[in-house]
Every structure is written in C-alpha cells, then in structure tokens.
C-alpha cells in the first residue's frame, strides 16, 4: 500500500486514468503508445524522479494492452535512482522484445475499454 504522504505524478496514455487522477494528482497524459509512456518515464527517471510502480504490472503483456499507467515521485532527487533505472530499462527491453516478437493486433473497441479498465484498476490498487 502506498504511503499516504507520498506525493506522485501519474504518467499515462489511458484516458480513464487521466480522468480518475486528474483532480487528485499531477497527471502527464501521453497521446501515444505504451512504449511512449515507458520512454517518457525513463527520461524522467534519468533526471532523478523515482519510479513508484512496476511498469510491467499485471499479467496482461505489454504487446497485448496498448495502455499503461505508471506512478513516479513528485520531486526529482539529486542523484539518479539506481533501482528505478534498472527496473525501467529492464521493462523497456522486455516490452520491446515482446512487441517485436508479436506486434499489437487491432482490438475491437469493447476490448480496448476492458484494457483501460484493467490498467486503471491495477494502478488504483496501490491507493
């Protein structure tokens, strides 16, 4: 469970997450792919922000769900957080590997809605 005093930023390409978190937390909405979200998170981690949630949360694989929500610390530290770098770099590599081996398919809208719901529900589980 999340430490209640922890301040955070939500990075997401999931409109449901944006809507849910918008008035509670700072939300950076990425109009792009799951990989774009991971890259944005990576760049912020490189600048000293700390990763709070695992980018590969859930058993829905990164080449299945097009949506991703990640939480990072509100304030950057002076020094890059090593653990965060290792986790994000590893996650990006795994995601790239899976996407390369089997690219996304065209999902019907109701399935996309399910992906959005699952993504939001998983990230909500930390609160």
């Amino acid at each position: 469970m999340l430490n209640l005093v922890e301040k955070l930023i939500i990075i997401t390409n999931n409109p449901l997450s944006k809507e849910f978190f918008n008035d509670k937390y700072e939300v950076q909405f990425i109009n792009g792919s799951l990989m774009d979200v991971l890259i944005k998170v990576r760049d912020l981690i490189h600048k000293g922000y700390v990763l709070l949630t695992h980018p590969l949360m859930g058993s829905v694989k990164p080449n299945q769900t097009p949506y991703k929500t990640v939480a990072i610390s509100k304030l950057p530290k002076d020094k890059t957080d090593e653990q965060s770098v290792l986790v994000i770099e590893n996650s990006i590599q795994t995601a790239q590997k899976l996407i390369k081996s089997k690219p996304y398919k065209k999902w019907p809208e109701e399935v996309l809605e399910d992906f959005r719901v699952i993504d939001l529900e998983l990230i909500k589980s930390i609160f």
């Binding site: 990576r42 760049d43 490189h46 600048k47 770099e89 590599q93």
Partner: protein
C-alpha cells in the same frame, strides 16, 4: 558419399601467419591442413570436396565482399554440410567462421558446423546461427575437437534429429524448446532442492545469465607521460552521424579524429544514442565525452597526451555480444597505437 566444404584461415591453410592475414579467399580442391583429420573422422561417410582459405584480416575488413566470394565458391559444389574451423580462441578467425556459417545457412540453406573456445567472441555472435562445437583454447585441442565436429556434421548432413548440447558437445544456442518431462515440475523442484541442500550436483533447467570477470590490469605508472584514449558507449558522434550508428543495439562503432578539437560544441557533435533524452548531450557533448577537460589536462601536463582518435558506439547494458566484439576490436587498435590507458564513459 556425402560432400563437405571446409573453411579455414591463412594460418591453418599453411599460407602464413599474421603477415598473410590479408589474403583474399582461395579455393583448393580437396583437403588442406586440419581437413585431413576431419576427413579421417568422417570414416568414409563423407568427403571434403573443397577447402576455402581466407585471411582473417581480409575477412574482417571486407566482410561483405569476402562472404559473397566464398558463397559463390561453395555453391558449385552443392555440399551436404559446411564445416568451418575449428577456430579455438582466435577471435577474428572465430568471428569469420561464424559469419561464413551464418551466410551459408541463410543463403544456401546448407547445415553448418564450426568449433570454438567458449570465450571466442564468435561464440556469442553466432551461437544462434551455427552449431559451434566447444573446443580447447588452442590448437592443442584439435584432436579432441575434430571427431565431435565430424559427428555433428554427419548428423546434420543426414538430417538426423539433433540432441541436446550436453549430448552432442556443442555450445547451447539459446533456443528454448518445450518437451514433456517424465516427472511433474513440482517433483523436479523438490528433487533439485534435495540435491542442492546436500551439496550434490544438480542441473538447472534454466540458465540465468552469469557474468565472467577479467582481472584488473596494473595501474598506469606515470600518468603525466601516459597516452589516454577516450571511448564511449554514449553514442557521441560528429554532427550528422556520418557512420549512421544505430540508436539502439548498434551493429558498429565509429572511430573519430579529434586532432585539434578542444571542445565538443552543439554545432559539431551530437549523440546517436536512443536510450536517453538527447537534449543535454546534443547541447554539449562534453557532458558525455569529456574532451574539453582532457585537453586542459594535456596542456597542464597532468596527462601525457590525449589519443588522436576516440571511439563511440551505442550501448545498452545487455547487448553483450556485439559490445564484446567492439571492445576487442577497439582494444587491438588502441594497443597498436601505443595507448596506455582508457577512459570509457557510459550514460
């Protein structure tokens, strides 16, 4: 009788040593050098119809051309299997054996076998593409390697099913194949645990990556006389990326002349690396490759000199195979140029 074409380098082809390493591919009918032992090991089931000899340097420096020539030479024999080496621990020879095997497999769809020592850089580069028989680190291991290679070659030529790396003596290619085990997973786990806790030998079903270490070299004695070279995996290249180094998992490295360069500026250098936000490196590449500071230190006499060339590639922690190849190639040039020590920067 089945037909085999054999590939060897200038040394094993009895043409000469390093001074002959630049010879172009040559075709010889029949057996040359270690081919004799190989032929004997086939015990009459196969014959070496031709031997191709190529200089290691020539191959390394003209890989595309050399490969094309070699493929043309092989084609007309239409062999049942292609054998290269064994290359033992010779890095360029191993890399050439691997590259030729890969090309033969892909272009001609002929099965391929080679042999190398585990630390040969050719292993990591080509183990997925060819069956590489594990050999000793020098030609002393020839007698042991040849029968294994011959056995594997015959098996492949006949199209027989391939056994596991342990059974056949080849280096695991990292291809995972499912099978139905005799015992269920939980029972296998308990068996493994009992062995492990009792200090008995056990075999893991999945090899986690492990990392070999190299002992540190002795320090630089007098840094004020030393020639220092800069190498980076941070992708710093002259503006425009003249060698077109890829933004991730680069397939090559660049070598750049910094004679007379005292500062890397926004107008002259940039990063080709796609693994981080390039804004800061593009604005001032000294933030990744500290040329400006080293020039100051050179002037102040704090170091002997800064090497005239720096080397750059795009690395990400795990693309071990190509990084290994680059490292070996760069080190060879640096030593030849009389460099005493290296500063390697990563992002």
């Amino acid at each position: 009788m089945m037909k085999v074409v054999h590939y060897i380098n200038q040394f094993f082809g009895q043409i000469g040593g390093e001074e002959k390493a630049d010879i172009t591919p040559q075709l010889h009918e029949g057996v040359v050098g270690p081919g004799m032992a190989l032929k004997n090991a086939f015990k009459g089931e196969a014959d070496i119809v031709a031997t191709i000899i190529c200089g290691d340097s020539y191959f390394a420096e003209h890989q595309e051309e050399a490969t094309k020539t070699i493929l043309d030479m092989i084609k007309k024999y239409n062999p049942d299997v292609f054998v290269a080496g064994p290359a033992f621990n010779a890095g360029r020879y191993g890399t050439a054996c691997g590259a030729v095997c890969k090309a033969v497999k892909e272009a001609l769809n002929i099965p391929v076998v080679t042999g190398m020592y585990i630390e040969n850089p050719g292993v990591d580069l080509y183990k997925k593409d060819a069956y590489i028989v594990l050999t000793k680190n020098s030609a002393v291991g020839m007698r042991e390697a040849v029968p294994k290679m011959a056995k594997l070659a015959l098996k492949l030529a006949k199209g027989e099913p391939m056994g596991s790396p342990q059974e056949e003596g080849y280096i695991p290619r990292g291809i995972r194949k499912n099978y139905i085990a005799d015992e269920r997973g939980s029972k296998r786990a308990v068996d493994m645990l009992v062995k492990k806790v009792n200090g008995e030998k056990f075999e893991t079903e999945f090899e986690m990556p492990s990392f070999d270490r190299v002992a540190p070299n002795p320090p630089v004695k007098d840094i004020t006389k030393a020639k220092i070279a800069l190498v980076t995996s941070g992708g710093i290249v002259p503006k425009g990326n003249p060698d077109r180094i890829e933004s991730s998992s680069a397939s090559k490295f660049g070598k750049y002349d910094i004679d007379g360069v005292y500062d890397l500026t926004e107008a002259t250098y940039e990063t080709a690396h796609g693994g981080y936000d390039p804004t800061y490196a593009n604005a001032d590449a000294d933030r990744v490759l500290p040329v400006d500071v080293l020039r100051d230190l050179e002037k102040e006499g704090k170091i002997g000199s800064l090497h005239r060339y720096y080397y750059a590639t795009v690395g990400n922690g795990t693309a071990v195979a190509s990084a290994k190849k680059f490292g070996a190639a760069i080190a060879k040039e640096l030593i030849a140029d009389g460099v005493d020590a290296v500063i390697l920067t990563s992002t």
